[in-house]
Structure formats: C-alpha cells, structure tokens
C-alpha cells in the first residue's frame, strides 16, 4: 500500500510515529513511485526553505534590547500589580501572603460564600533588598533551601489570557459596554494624545486552595505558633479581576527616540476577593502577618494598615518615592523613581487612583509625578 503525500511529508519532517516510520522506510525500498514522490517533496521543501529565508539576526543583541525594554516596562511598580493579576499562579506564596492579608466582607455572592472583599485602597509596603536576603537566610537556616510552592496549595486561573481586543477610542460607548462598566479617560493635555487604539481584555478569576497542614508545618519549622485555622483546608478562595482597558498615549517627542515621553493607563474594576464560608478571616490575617519568615519591618508595615479589609498592599522598593494624593476627590498614591540612564536621568512615575470603584493605574515614562497628576486630573 502506498502512502499519501501528507504522510510522506511528515516522514520527511521527522514528525511520525516510530512504527509507521519503519513501515514507510521498508515500503520506500521497494516502491519506486513513492521514492520518486518523496524526492519531489524533498526538492520542494528545499526550494521553499531557500525562498523563505530571511536575514539572520543577532540573538545576543536581541536579548540585550529585550532586557532593556523589559526593565523599562517592569520597573513600574504598578506593573507588579498587573503581575499580581497575571503572575499569581507563579507567585503562589506572594499571592497567598499579600492576598490573604488584604481581605474584607461585603455581601454573600454565592451560597457557599460568606464574604466578598473589595480592594479599594492602596498602601505601599516597602521591601528592601535586605528584607529579601533576610527571608532567604531564615529559610536557609531552617534547612528549607528549596520550597516547592505546589505542595502548599493549588492555584487556578480561569479566563482567557491571549484575548485582548482593539477598539478605536472613537468608539468609547462600545468599549464601555464591552467591559460592562463606566470609566473616565484623560483628555489630550500638554501634547500627550491618546493613541487611537484602546485595548480591552476579558477578566480572570484566580482560585486558590491552601494546603493548611503543610503551611502550618512550615510555620512550625520556623518556630512560629500562630497557625492558619484548620477549617481553611481545601476551601476555595477566589480573586476576581474584571475586564480591563488599556490606553496609551503617543510619545510627546513624536519619535521612537530613547527618551520616550509617554504614559500608559490601565483601568479595571476594583478586584474582589471571595472568602469561603466559615473562614475566620481575622485569624487568617493574624497567622499570615505573624509568619515567622516575614521580616519585622514588613510585618509592621502590613500590621499597621488600618483598613486592611479594603486595602491592596503595594510592594515597593526603598528607592521609590511615595506620596498619597487626592485627585478630583478620589484617593490615590503616586510612586516615582529616578534612575541614571545611559546618558540622561530618567524619571518613572506611577499613579494609582480609585474613583468610584474603578481603579486607574497610570505609568509614565519620563514624566514627573506632577505631570502625571495633571493628566489624571484631566480625566472626564
């Protein structure tokens, strides 16, 4: 029996099961028709390979460029917040710690659910390199050099990641109905213009279940005695991150020069945390804050957050400047950082604002905090 061209092509590309491979090999030895066909396919293949060549690239250089860009993007603290959203699965521990610290009760959303927390406020929590070293040392001393986060709980992200959609800014009503809530956008001030395309992205829900025994054992290993309540075991917490909107401005320089002066804005509804029925959230908070491997200065900062039930703790580094602001009556926080670029002093500012249940996260390239505040004030 002869093989069809598709199968022969797969054979050529080494994309075929071992057993079938043997069969084809044997067959080719005896069947001239198939051998000729295979040869044709081979020729076609190399003809195409040649035709579709592109100039080669320097992978190292590309990596350098990418690292630079990522650094620029990532140094925004608020991107850490976005990361929070996206990276929660990877940063299981961080998520569990930060998220469970920031929990608050509003309504019964589902039968098995007692509490719904809306995170409305922001509070910077400074984490220094020493703190990180401190945590590392503590783990090292306790003989836990490597922690496999998977055994401490399950994290599941529900919702589609790759599905951002572009809608023109002239179609604001469409965007609003797509995301399902009303929001404001900044006006064109000081030569900053909104880019024509606005991106909308569907929301996600992060569910996590903790393995309480394992976590409590870990706490005990470190000599801690405030444990997580037993009944937390296998209960599902949900963090709901709604549909979001991403707007960006054009570069004030109107160029792609190194000194890019522009800002981006992410808009989303305040995230909500749903805590399962029967969980004593005060106890959870107590246990989390007192986890023995958390450095004291971080513990104190977290413990001092008064409205902890509605506050998102923002991790910032000790080189960031932090300022609370009020913009058109809404509370927010500005975090900025200066750093010496290759030839110029670069300034990065971020501003988070909660306006009637909608969070606005601005991140500015080479924009001073005051400029960013002005942009935020122009929102209508």
């Amino acid at each position: 029996m002869c093989f069809d061209e598709g199968t022969l092509q797969s054979y050529l590309d080494g994309e075929i099961d071992e057993s079938l491979k043997e069969q084809i090999k044997k067959h080719l030895d005896t069947c001239e028709k198939c051998s000729v066909k295979l040869n044709e396919l081979k020729n076609l293949n190399s003809f195409l390979d040649k035709a579709l060549k592109t100039s080669s690239i320097d992978l190292n250089e590309a990596w350098q460029n990418l690292s630079k860009k990522i650094n620029k993007e990532e140094r925004g603290v608020f991107n850490m917040f976005r990361k929070y959203k996206k990276y929660i699965a990877a940063a299981a521990a961080a998520a569990v710690i930060t998220a469970s610290i920031a929990l608050p009760p509003v309504q019964k959303a589902e039968a098995e659910i007692l509490s719904l927390f809306r995170l409305n406020n922001f509070k910077a929590v400074t984490i220094t390199p020493d703190d990180l070293q401190d945590i590392k040392n503590k783990f090292y001393q306790a003989g836990n050099k490597e922690i496999d986060l998977k055994q401490y709980g399950d994290i599941k992200v529900i919702g589609d990641y790759g599905s951002s959609k572009e809608i023109s800014k002239n179609n604001l009503d469409k965007i609003k109905s797509y995301v399902g809530y009303n929001f404001k956008i900044p006006q064109d001030v000081d030569n900053f213009k909104l880019r024509d395309n606005i991106y909308v992205e569907k929301g996600q829900t992060v569910e996590f279940k903790l393995n309480v025994d394992k976590i409590n054992n870990l706490i005990k290993t470190f000599g801690g005695n405030k444990l997580l309540p037993e009944n937390l075991n296998e209960k599902t917490f949900k963090i709901i991150l709604g549909n979001s909107v991403h707007i960006s401005s054009t570069d004030k320089n109107e160029s792609d020069s190194q000194k890019n002066i522009s800002y981006g804005l992410d808009i989303m509804k305040t995230p909500e945390i749903i805590v399962p029925d029967g969980v004593d959230i005060e106890k959870v908070r107590d246990a989390v804050i007192n986890m023995p491997f958390i450095p004291d200065d971080i513990r104190n900062q977290i413990a001092s957050i008064k409205d902890w039930k509605t506050t998102i703790p923002f991790p910032v580094s000790d080189t960031d400047d932090i300022k609370d602001v009020t913009i058109n009556g809404s509370k927010g926080i500005v975090i900025s950082k200066k750093f010496q670029g290759s030839d110029i002093l670069e300034v990065y500012s971020n501003l988070a604002l909660n306006d009637h249940g909608v969070i606005y996260l601005f991140s500015g390239n080479n924009i001073s905090p005051d400029e960013l505040i002005k942009i935020a004030e122009s929102m209508r």
Partner: protein, 164 residues
C-alpha cells in the same frame, strides 16, 4: 528590582529566531519584525499563557496576530521605503540590495496571493516550528499538518513560477 526568570531566557533562545523569521515573512519588514518579535516576548512576561498551554503554539499565535495587525494598519507605509537592515559592517552594494529586495518582494507577493491558512502553515514550518505547535497555532489537526504543507508548497511554487 525585577529578575527575569531563567526559564524565560530558555524560551527566548529557543523561540526568538523562529518568531522573528515568521513575522519577517508575513510583514516583509525586517526591522519592524524585530520590534514585533520583542513585543511578543513582552506579552509573554506580562500576560503569560496558562501553565498547560503549549508555549510554542501560543507564541506563534501571538506573533501571527501582531504581524497581521501590523499589515492591517499599514499606514506605516511611508516609513517603509527602502529599509536596509544592518549588515554588521559588511559592505553590500546597492545593486545587491536592490536585487535582494526584488526577490523578497516577489516572495511576499506570492505569499499574499495564497490562502491565508496555507500561507501561515508554510511560514510556520519554514520558521522551524514543529507540527504540534503549528496545529495549535493555526487550529488545525496535527494529522493534517503534513497534507497542508504539501498543498502549500505546491501552491507556492506554482504562483512563484507565474510571477515575473
């Protein structure tokens, strides 16, 4: 403050070349292809796929979307006259560049005449993706990738020979 995880670099090394190649073929602008390839990786960091997703398939899907979007918004046309990529200091004569450009334009023209899925299948295969990744990226069955490739090869050759 942020450290890029090692595994990210592994992914970069494994896929950057493929992604670049794939985009360069679709948009016929090698400088811009570099930019878009970088955007794809920035997206990988910012909005990574689910753990269980096939990373190659995901990356190539994102790359296709970005490349097609770019083509759609080809108001960038004016900035795309004769763009010559950097040749690491090697001397290349203007004639060579012109000839190469005609050749590249021809390939691009042929690709644009093909059925989109066949074209993309061809581009992905010759960018070095495996069948599994191609099938995920294009949403076709893995078992029909081989057949699609053969069909696309033949179609390309036919159109290429017709093109002057």
């Amino acid at each position: 403050m942020f450290k890029i995880p090692d595994s990210f670099k592994d992914i970069f090394e494994k896929y950057y070349g493929k992604i670049y190649h794939q985009i360069a073929l679709i948009i016929n602008d090698e400088d811009k292809a570099q930019d878009i390839a970088q955007e794809v990786f920035i997206k990988l960091i910012k909005n990574p796929p689910h753990n269980d997703e096939n990373i190659g398939g995901w990356l190539s899907k994102v790359a296709i979307n970005r490349a097609l979007n770019f083509i759609r918004s080809e108001k960038n046309l004016k900035s795309r006259e004769l763009k010559v990529s950097q040749f690491n200091g090697d001397f290349v004569s203007p004639e060579d560049i012109a000839i190469e450009k005609i050749e590249v334009d021809k390939v691009r023209k042929v690709l644009s005449k093909m059925d989109r899925r066949d074209m993309l299948c061809l581009v992905l295969k010759h960018s070095g993706y495996n069948y599994e990744e191609i099938s995920i990226s294009l949403g076709i069955k893995k078992s029909s990738v081989g057949t699609t490739i053969v069909r696309a090869h033949k179609k390309f050759k036919e159109l290429y020979e017709k093109e002057v």
